[in-house]
Subunit: 343 residues, 2 copies
C-alpha cells in the first residue's frame, strides 16, 4: 500500500459518488450492469480504505483486459450445488467477484447448516484485493478464509525461475468489541501492485523482495517488472504456502495454475485467469461459547503485550476518515476517470 | 530437525520394534493401551522419518507430564456430531491424537459426503509433530489442513512480550506420481523442539529466531529457553498467521489460548493444554478433474524451475532408509528407553 504524494492537489468525493463513477466506466467499457456494480464497489472500497494498489490504480488494467477480449465482462456465472457443504461456480471467463456474489447466499446457508462450507470458483479473473471477499462473512459472525492464485511472478524457494503467483491468503473473523479481524497477505515478499506503484513513483524497494532478469537480487522495482521476479515471504515457509494456494485455488477448483494461461495473443491483458477458493465456518457450531467474545479476548491480550495495531486496523482508520472527509483523489486521476466514464 | 551426532554409536531397531517399546513405556507410565498405541505410533513415525525433535526426544516430556497429573492418559475422548460437516471432540484433558483417532472415520465420511468437513478438538494436549495428523488423509485422496496452538513463547510482531505459541500449520494433498505433498511449519521462526535440541547440543541458532529475557535478539538457544522467547517467521505475516491459529485452534474449538493455562502447580508438565482444528476436503467434489494428476503437474513444474526438494521429501527419504536399515538410536538413548519400559 502507498499514499498519493503529499504535494499533489486532491479532490474529494464520497464513496457513493466514486462507486457510481466507476460503475459508469465499467459499463462503458463492456461489462454488464451487474458486473459493473460488483467491481465498482470492490474498487471504490479499496480506494476508500487506503489500499491504493488495488483501488483506482487498477482501472487501467481492468479496461485493457476487457478491450483485449481477455476477460468476459458480460458472462453470467453458473452456480453448481454439489454437496451439503460444497458449492462450485464456473465464472465463464469472467471476473471472480461476481461469481462469489451469485453464490454467496447459498454458501452462507450451507455454512450455517453444515458448520463449514466451501466455494470453489474456476475459470475466473481476480484482479482485486482479497480482503473485500472475506470481510463481509465476518460481519455476519462467520469465519472466512480465501486463497487465489494469480500469474507467474514468484520464484519458489531454492528454485531458479518464477512459477507461482503472488497467491494471497485472506482471513476474517468476527470480534465482539470492534470491527472484524481481517488480514490479506500476498505469499510473495511484496504484492505485485506495490511493485508497480513503487516503479511509478520511482522508489526503491527494501531488500529481499525480488530478483532481476538475471536472477540477481535487486531493489529496483523496474528491474523486477522488466523480466525479473518476486521472492516468497519468509523463505521456504512462504514458498510452501504459495504452493498450497496453487493447489487449493487451481487444482481443487479446476482453475488454471498461475503458469498455465497464455495471454500473449491478447495485448493489454492483465487479469490472471485462474481460480479461487473460499472456506466459511460457522463458529456457533464450535464449543457453543461466544466466538466473538473469545476473539476480543485475544485482541485484548495482544494489545497487552504491546501490539498496537491489529490486522485490518489501518484500513478501518482510513475508512472512518474517508467517511468523514470523503475519498481524496489527485485531480489528474479524477479527470481521467471522468473522461473514461464519458462525463 | 537435527540428526544424532555422527560419532555416536547407533543401534538399530525396526519401526515395529520401536513402536512396541514405546507402547510399553506409555502404558507403564499411566496411559491406557489405546492411548499408548496412538502415541507410540506417532512418536516412532517421527523418529523413523528423521523428525528427531518430535521423536523419542519427546518421551521425557510425555512422561513428566503424565507423572505431574497434568494430562490424563486414560480418558476416553467424547465425539459430538453437530452438523453435516462439523465434528467436535472433547479430549477430556487427554492427548489430541487419540481424540483425532476416535473421530477420524466420522470426519472422513462427512468430508466425502458433504465435500468438506471440520474437526474441532478441545481440552487436548498436543505434544507431537503435526504432519502425522494430516498425511493419512492425503493417502486416502483427501486434502487436509490442520492448526494447533501451544504455549506462550512467541512475541507477536511489533509487540514486546511473548503471547502466541509456536502454532504450526500442516497441510497435505495427494499426488498421482508419488507420496503426498505434506508440510508442517511452525509459525515461529523456529520450532521449539529445535531450540531445545540446539541447546542440548550446544549449537548457536541463526539470527532472527528469538530474543533473550530482556527482549534483545540472541542466537543462544539457552538464552531463548531461559526466559527469552521466539519470533514469528516472516515478520508481520507470520505473526498474523500465528494469530489465526489461536483463533481457529482455540477460540473456535473451545480450547485454551496458548496463554490461558496454568501448569505452575504441576511441576514437570510440558504438554500444552489447548485445542486443534482439522479441515478435510474431498477434491473429487471439485471440478471433477483428477486432483492428484493436477498436483503431480504442479510438482513437475516446480522441479522444472529448479526446486529439487518438495515439502515432505526429506521425511520420505529418511523413511525409506529406515525401512531398509532400521531406525538408528544412540545406544544411550535405547538403553534409557528399555529402562523406562522395564525390559
Amino acid at each position: 500500500m502507498s499514499s498519493p504524494p503529499a504535494n499533489v492537489e486532491l479532490q474529494t468525493l464520497s464513496f457513493v459518488e466514486l462507486t457510481a463513477l466507476l460503475e459508469q466506466i465499467f459499463v462503458r467499457h463492456g461489462t454488464s450492469p451487474e458486473v459493473a456494480a460488483v467491481l465498482a464497489n470492490n474498487c471504490a472500497s479499496a480506494e476508500r480504505d487506503g489500499s491504493h494498489s488495488h483501488g483506482i490504480f487498477r482501472i487501467r488494467g481492468y479496461l485493457s483486459s476487457l478491450a483485449a477480449g481477455w476477460v468476459d465482462g458480460q458472462v453470467v456465472p453458473k452456480v453448481e450445488d454439489v454437496g451439503a457443504a460444497f458449492v462450485r461456480v464456473d465464472a465463464g471467463g469472467g471476473f471472480a467477484q461476481p461469481a462469489l456474489e451469485v453464490a454467496k447466499a447459498l454458501l452462507i446457508a450451507k455454512a450455517r447448516s453444515a458448520g463449514i462450507a466451501i466455494l470453489a470458483i474456476r475459470n475466473s479473473h481476480h484482479f482485486a484485493a482479497l480482503w473485500p471477499d472475506v470481510e463481509p462473512f465476518a460481519e455476519q459472525g462467520l469465519v472466512a478464509l480465501s486463497v487465489v492464485n494469480s500469474m507467474t511472478c514468484v520464484v519458489p524457494h531454492d528454485a531458479q525461475q518464477p512459477l507461482f503467483g503472488t497467491n494471497p491468503i485472506a482471513f476474517a473473523a468476527p470480534r465482539a468489541g470492534g470491527q472484524p479481524i481481517v488480514f490479506d497477505m500476498a505469499t510473495s515478499a511484496i504484492a505485485h501492485g506495490d511493485v508497480q506503484i513503487a516503479a511509478r513513483e520511482g522508489r526503491l524497494l527494501p531488500e529481499g523482495m525480488g530478483v532481476d532478469r538475471a536472477g540477481e537480487p535487486t531493489c529496483d522495482p523496474k528491474a523486477i517488472l522488466d523480466g525479473g521476479a518476486l521472492l516468497p515471504f519468509g523463505g521456504y515457509k512462504g514458498s510452501a504456502l504459495s504452493m498450497m494456494v496453487e493447489l487449493l485455488a487451481a487444482a481443487l477448483t479446476g482453475g488454471n495454475f498461475s503458469f498455465e494461461f497464455d495471454w500473449s495473443k491478447h495485448p493489454g491483458a492483465q487479469t490472471p485467469w485462474t481460480g479461487q477458493l473460499i472456506i466459511v465456518i460457522d463458529p456457533d457450531k464450535g464449543r457453543g461459547q461466544d466466538f466473538a467474545a473469545r476473539s476480543e479476548e485475544l485482541v485484548r491480550q495482544m494489545h497487552g503485550v504491546g501490539q498496537t495495531r491489529m490486522p485490518g486496523d489501518r484500513r478501518y482508520a482510513q475508512r472512518a476518515k474517508s467517511l468523514v472527509s470523503g475519498i481524496g483523489l489527485p485531480r489528474f486521476d479524477l479527470d481521467h476517470l471522468r473522461q473514461l466514464a464519458g462525463v
